[in-house]
């Protein structure tokens, strides 16, 4: 499933669970919400009528319901806890040459070694149906000079293209993190 499809499915799953939760809440609160109805909703009677309408015995229906519910729960849990897919090790594969993501990370880190506001660089390659792309996460110092950091990152990308010989599809993420919290800001002159 693509990233966008997975996100849509996540929202649909949340909406379904939300509606189920509100449904249970409505059934539970019915005697309080609608006192004129003369008592609770006859949910158990409705279920028994449905079971009788199937023509199967109550025990058989119980087995079928339990099996279907167990299967649904198992599938839902497996789907929700499935590891995030799409991350791969190689950033470039062209004409028999494979370049590992760690190499890309090393080149960018080396280019940014003299950038005083840059604390850390992390590269991750994602594979999609239409190709692969690299996310370059750059952690900055507190109160970093953003214009300077952006200029240095753009220069680093030029260095990366020159080193690899091909322009690498990339998205740069300027962010903060634990190292930012532990680092000191540079002096403002």
């Amino acid at each position: 499933m693509s990233g966008g499809g997975r996100r849509t499915a996540n929202r649909l799953a949340l909406a379904t669970l939300g509606i189920l939760g509100l449904g249970v809440a409505l059934v539970a609160a019915w005697p309080l919400l609608v006192p004129s109805a003369g008592g609770p909703l006859p949910v158990a009677d409705v279920v028994e009528d449905l079971v009788a309408a199937t023509g199967l015995g109550a025990v058989t229906v119980a087995w079928i319901a339990a099996a279907v519910a167990a299967l649904l729960v198992l599938l839902a849990v497996l789907w929700a806890l499935a590891p995030r897919r799409g991350r791969i090790r190689s950033a470039v594969e062209t004409e028999g040459v494979v370049v590992d993501t760690a190499v890309v990370e090393g080149i960018v880190r080396s280019s940014l070694a003299t950038a005083s506001d840059v604390l850390a660089v992390q590269a991750t390659t994602f594979a999609r149906r239409r190709g692969r792309w690299v996310r370059l996460k750059v952690q900055l110092r507190p109160r970093a000079d953003l214009a300077d950091a952006v200029a240095r990152v753009r220069t680093a990308l030029v260095d990366l293209d020159a080193a690899l010989g091909v322009p690498l599809p990339a998205v740069v993420h300027l962010t903060t993190g634990v190292r930012t919290a532990l680092a000191r800001g540079r002096r403002v002159d």
Binding site: L17, L22, R143
Partner: protein
């Protein structure tokens, strides 16, 4: 080289993934469903109920009893939380700076720090005397001037705007500076 794949990937980074939210919701709902499944299987095997049989569960939940109302309250909170997760925009507090070579996604925290730096420089104060709060469309810069050294808010505001203008951020960000009435000894 900003291909459609790269543009879409960068835009996706502006939104938060709901995978953790979904995993938690599915585990909670799965635990409740597992209880009902166990009781259903015990009923099918002809064994006595562990806590309450299927019929008793339905009667308790729908009967307006204290236990049923408690279950209803928990289900209401769960349902509202799930619907909120499904329908809310899920903004990640990031902005996009388009570039010819590669798009740059900038955290609002990074922007706030950078604006504080520009403001401190323009106001001639220590960085600790500047606080910046970045909201959806506007960054509020609050400066506590050093006593005896007045600060012009318009200058600080202009410095902030100049600092972020070259980035052409999306969503765009306007800056507003406010100078505290009382200064600080520094």
């Amino acid at each position: 080289m900003t291909t459609p794949l790269i543009q879409r990937s960068a835009r996706r980074m502006l939104r938060r993934s709901r995978s953790v939210w979904v995993a938690a919701a599915v585990l909670l709902a799965g635990a409740a469903a597992a209880f009902v499944i166990v009781e259903t299987v015990r009923f099918a095997l002809g064994l006595p109920a562990w806590i309450a049989g299927p019929r008793a569960i339905l009667d308790t939940v729908s009967g307006g009893t204290p236990v049923g109302l408690t279950v209803g309250a928990v289900a209401l909170a769960f349902g509202v939380a799930c619907l909120w997760g499904a329908l809310s925009p899920g903004r990640a507090g990031r902005r996009l700076s388009a570039g010819e070579r590669a798009p740059i996604v900038v955290d609002d925290a990074v922007l706030a720090g950078s604006l504080s730096r520009s403001a401190a420089r323009a106001a001639g104060t220590a960085p600790a005397q500047v606080r910046t709060h970045v909201a959806r469309r506007r960054a509020d810069i609050e400066i506590t001037p050093s006593s005896g050294f007045p600060v012009v808010a318009a200058d600080v505001q202009r410095a902030g705007s100049v600092a972020i203008a070259p980035l052409a951020l999306s969503p765009s960000l306007a800056t507003r500076a406010r100078v505290a009435r009382q200064g600080a000894l520094s």
